[in-house]
Structure formats: structure tokens, C-alpha cells
Amino acid sequence: MTNSSETNRERKEEVKPIAEGLFTIPSSPEEKPHLIGTKCRSCGTFFFPKEVCCNVCFNEDMEDVLLSNRGKLYSFTVVRQRPMAYMGPLPYAMGFVDVPEGVRIMTLLAGDFEKLELDMEMEMILEPISEGDDVVAYKFRPVED
């Protein structure tokens, strides 16, 4: 029998984030990934990606916070032409997800994009941009009830 926590630990060592500081990588199957944002300690505004100072009140006292990994799909598109720097499959869906902290997250959308609808509940996952990659990016997909 395989020890699942050990397998996951091994997987974690293999998985590389597309950039440091964008999201957490779970160390067990029970754990969910989270985007890492910043919160202004003065006015309470959240940011993603992280900001060194608050763009609303210009305070520099910022703290790192884990954002909710659920939100609502604001809107999306299916991109059918390859933009510069993108190496994944075409077409692909990208859009914006509003998380409860008040941040509109620009994100790739996973799963069957024919099933996407505006305002639907979404959850964040980690996935390679291209299948088989050991580098993972954050994506949102519809919540399956």
C-alpha cells in the first residue's frame, strides 16, 4: 500500500510554482491551495498579486494574507490566438473571478469552457498550464456540488 501523505510530500517536491509568492502549494490532499495577497493594515484593502504599498491610501504597512479559494465568475473569454509568452494549449479560457475580499482575480479557467456561465461559483486549483508540465499555475473551475 502506498502511503498517501508520503506520495503527496514527494509530489510537492516535484511541483514548481510558475512564480514565487503567487500561491501556496498544499502539502496534503485535505489542504486547499490559496492565492497569496496583501492586505493594507490601515484601510483594509486587499490586493492580488501582492503589493508593496497600498494603492488606495499609500500606507506601507502591508501584511501577506491567504485569499479565499472560492469566488464568483465576473466574466470570461475563450482565447483562440496565441499571445506572446504563452506556451499552453489553444484555445483556452481566461477571465476574472471576484473573491469575497473584494479582489477581482485575473485567472485561467480549468475544465470544459462550454459550461462556464457568468456569476457561477468557482474554486481555485493548481494545474500545469500544459499537461505533463511540472510547473503549476493557479486556475479557477466551476464548483461541483
Partner: protein
């Protein structure tokens, strides 16, 4: 503040010109502006110059050096899609505030083909910025597409209404000898062209291209020494950046509305006084949004305003009579001055087959990555 006028304008055609250098294009536009002003190069007191895509320093000195040398200060400016309108704003201020009596604003551009990268929207470190590019976010029409899908749900706008922006602007472009595309494109052609980002098709995206444009601004008093007619007054020229730089996603709609409100206030005019508009239509969705920013219709009414024909050449407020960015073209640094060029023709009654009858007041609007917004109002 002194009263400022536009004395003359010059436009090289927009398009692709493999036989001409960036400097050649600029020379054509500047010579035409001087000729239109009845002025010689030596009369200029300062020049503001723009170019977005050449990887060289001080292009303005090189380009104007092909026309003349008179020792005047030449300043090179880059301000994204607002570059040309920024030059105009600088020239307006310099003349209005009495620093100079005669200022040239000129821009020349040879942009490479293909999708541009909206990197400046991502105010973060380089590694994270690259990551966002690798994730496929560097796709400008994507943002217009995302906005359009939201508008379709919120306002009941349709893909056809969105595509009609392109039909209208290509129709106008077919009447403009300066335009990059001078060909009418029926609705079905727009809808059936390659899908770029649903629901935005290829013919709903502005082309990248080449071109150059120039304008000469001076005081009303000085203008009389050169010309007696065809002098157009600058009623206001407003340039702004954001009051908040949060990545809320899609548009800086609030910014352009704020800029337009200020431009109307300074000019002592309102949306109902405007006879002709040149606005920022890099993608069809943007035009619908900017109708609302400029106050010519209410929020969510952009699609209806268009399909009711109000912004057609024959409508109450014709928009993008030049063909806009979509058909006239978007030689980035020069676009703001192409808008001025078109408005000058309209206000002088020289726009030929696309003339708006008795046009007295014209408005030019642009948005640039940053975000930046500009609104300029000219009156006869």
C-alpha cells in the same frame, strides 16, 4: 490663459509603407502641417514629438532634422495610446500659459504586426509579470471580450451590436483617403472573420500599422499673421491618470468619464453640444463603453445608441468619421494627432464625402495603458 488655436495639421496616410522609413513618414506629416499653417519651419518655437515602437533615443530630433534645424527645444514623449493627445495637451499648455507662441506636436510610427502585450497593467515584479504572460493573460482583445460578455449579460447587448461598431467604422474608413482600410465590411464578414477572443472577431480589432501626423498650435493673435480662415479654437485639452490603481480588471471607465466631465466643464460645453467625435476604439467593445463615458448616452445604452444609428455618419452624433482605430488605423504614437486631423477637416467643412453637416464642435478621446485618459474639445 491665452486663447489657443490649431493653425494647421498634416497626416501621412495610415497603412503599411515598406518603401518609407519612420523619419520619411514624419517628414511628410510635418511638411503638410507647415504648409497648412502657411508657416516655415524656422517659425516654430518648440516641438513635442512622439513615437512608441522605435528602440532609439531622441527620434524627434532625427525626424525633425529631416525638415529643418532651428535650435528649438524638442521633447520626446511616450504615453501609450495617449501619446499623440499628450503632445497636443503639452503644446496647448505651453501656448496657453505663455511659454511659447507657436508649438509643433508631431508623431511618427511603424509598429510591428500582431498582438500587443498589455504588460503595464501588471504592477508587480518581473518574475510575476513573466508568469502572468506565460499564463496567457497578455492578450489585449481578451479584456475587451471579457467586458463585452459582461455587458451582454448586464445590459442585454448582442454580438451583432458589438460587430456593428466595426461595420460603421469600416464604412466611414471607406470614405477616408487617409485610412489604413478603405473598404466596407458587411456585418456577416465581421461576424465570420477569425474568432480572436469570444465574442471579439478579427475585424473587431484595430490593426497595428504605420503613419505620422502633426498639428501646429499657436495663440489666436499669432494665427492671424499666417491665415484668415480654417483656424480652429481649442476649447479644452485634458489629460489624466488614475485616481486609484487597483486591478479591478477591465477598464478605466471611471477615469475617462472624469476626464470628459472636466473637459466639458473647462470648455463650458456639454455632451449635447458635440457635433462629431473621434474616440478610442481599439476593439469594438471600447466604443460602446466610451459613448457612456462621454455622456452621449446612459450606462448600458451604448449598444442601443449604435444600432439606432445615432453615431452613424447620418446620425445625430457621428462617431469615428475617420474610420476610428479600427479602419483609419492605430499608429500608436500618432493616433491622437490623427484624431485632431480628422476633427479639423470636419470643423473646417473639408471632410468631403464623410462631412458632418455644419459641424461646429468636435471631441477627441483616447485611453492609454497606465491607465491614462485624454479628452480634447475643438470648436470652430
Amino acid at each position: 490663459m491665452r486663447e489657443v488655436v490649431v493653425l494647421g495639421v498634416g497626416m501621412h496616410n495610415a497603412g503599411r509603407f515598406p518603401g518609407e522609413t519612420t523619419l520619411d513618414l514624419g517628414r511628410t506629416a510635418v511638411l503638410e502641417a507647415l504648409d497648412d499653417s502657411g508657416m516655415e519651419f524656422k517659425d516654430l518655437q518648440a516641438a513635442y514629438f512622439s513615437n512608441r515602437d522605435e528602440p532609439t533615443a531622441s527620434l524627434g530630433e532625427f525626424a525633425l532634422g529631416k525638415v529643418g534645424l532651428n535650435g528649438m527645444p524638442i521633447v520626446n514623449v511616450e504615453n501609450a495610446s495617449c501619446s499623440g493627445s499628450t503632445l497636443f495637451w503639452m503644446a496647448y499648455n505651453a501656448v496657453a500659459l505663455g511659454q511659447y507662441d507657436i508649438v509643433l506636436a508631431a508623431a511618427t510610427e511603424k509598429s510591428p504586426r500582431g498582438l500587443r502585450i498589455p504588460v503595464a497593467a501588471v504592477g508587480i515584479d518581473f518574475q510575476a509579470m513573466m508568469a502572468l504572460g506565460q499564463m496567457g493573460f497578455a492578450v489585449m482583445p481578451g479584456f475587451a471580450a471579457i467586458l463585452m460578455r459582461r455587458r451582454m449579460k448586464d445590459y442585454g447587448e448582442t454580438e451583432e451590436q458589438c460587430a456593428l461598431v466595426s461595420v460603421k467604422n469600416h464604412k466611414n474608413g471607406s470614405l477616408n483617403p487617409v485610412a489604413q482600410y478603405q473598404k466596407e465590411t458587411p456585418l456577416e464578414d465581421v461576424l465570420n472573420s477569425d474568432m480572436i477572443c469570444d465574442p471579439i472577431t478579427l475585424l473587431q480589432c484595430c490593426p497595428m500599422g504605420e503613419g505620422a501626423a502633426a498639428a501646429i498650435l499657436c495663440t489666436k493673435e499669432v494665427a492671424k499673421q499666417y491665415k484668415s480662415d480654417g483656424i480652429i479654437t481649442v476649447a479644452s485639452a485634458i489629460l489624466r491618470s488614475a485616481v486609484e490603481f487597483r486591478i479591478t480588471g477591465l477598464t478605466s471607465a471611471g477615469l475617462t468619464k472624469m476626464t470628459a466631465d472636466e473637459a466639458y466643464k473647462v470648455a463650458g460645453l456639454g455632451p449635447k453640444d458635440i457635433d462629431v467625435i473621434e474616440l478610442h476604439d481599439p476593439f469594438t467593445t471600447n466604443e460602446l463603453l466610451h459613448y457612456e463615458d462621454l455622456g452621449i448616452c446612459g450606462e448600458g445604452e451604448g449598444g442601443k445608441l449604435l444600432s439606432d444609428g445615432v453615431t452613424e455618419l447620418t446620425g445625430d452624433i457621428p462617431v469615428n468619421t475617420s474610420g476610428g482605430l479600427i479602419a483609419r488605423g492605430h499608429p500608436i504614437g500618432a493616433t491622437g494627432l490623427y484624431q485632431i486631423g480628422e476633427l479639423m477637416l470636419q470643423l473646417r467643412g473639408e471632410a468631403d464625402r464623410r462631412q458632418v453637416p455644419d459641424a461646429e464642435v468636435g471631441l477627441g478621446q483616447l485611453e492609454g495603458l497606465g491607465p491614462i485618459a485624454s479628452v480634447i474639445i475643438l470648436k470652430r
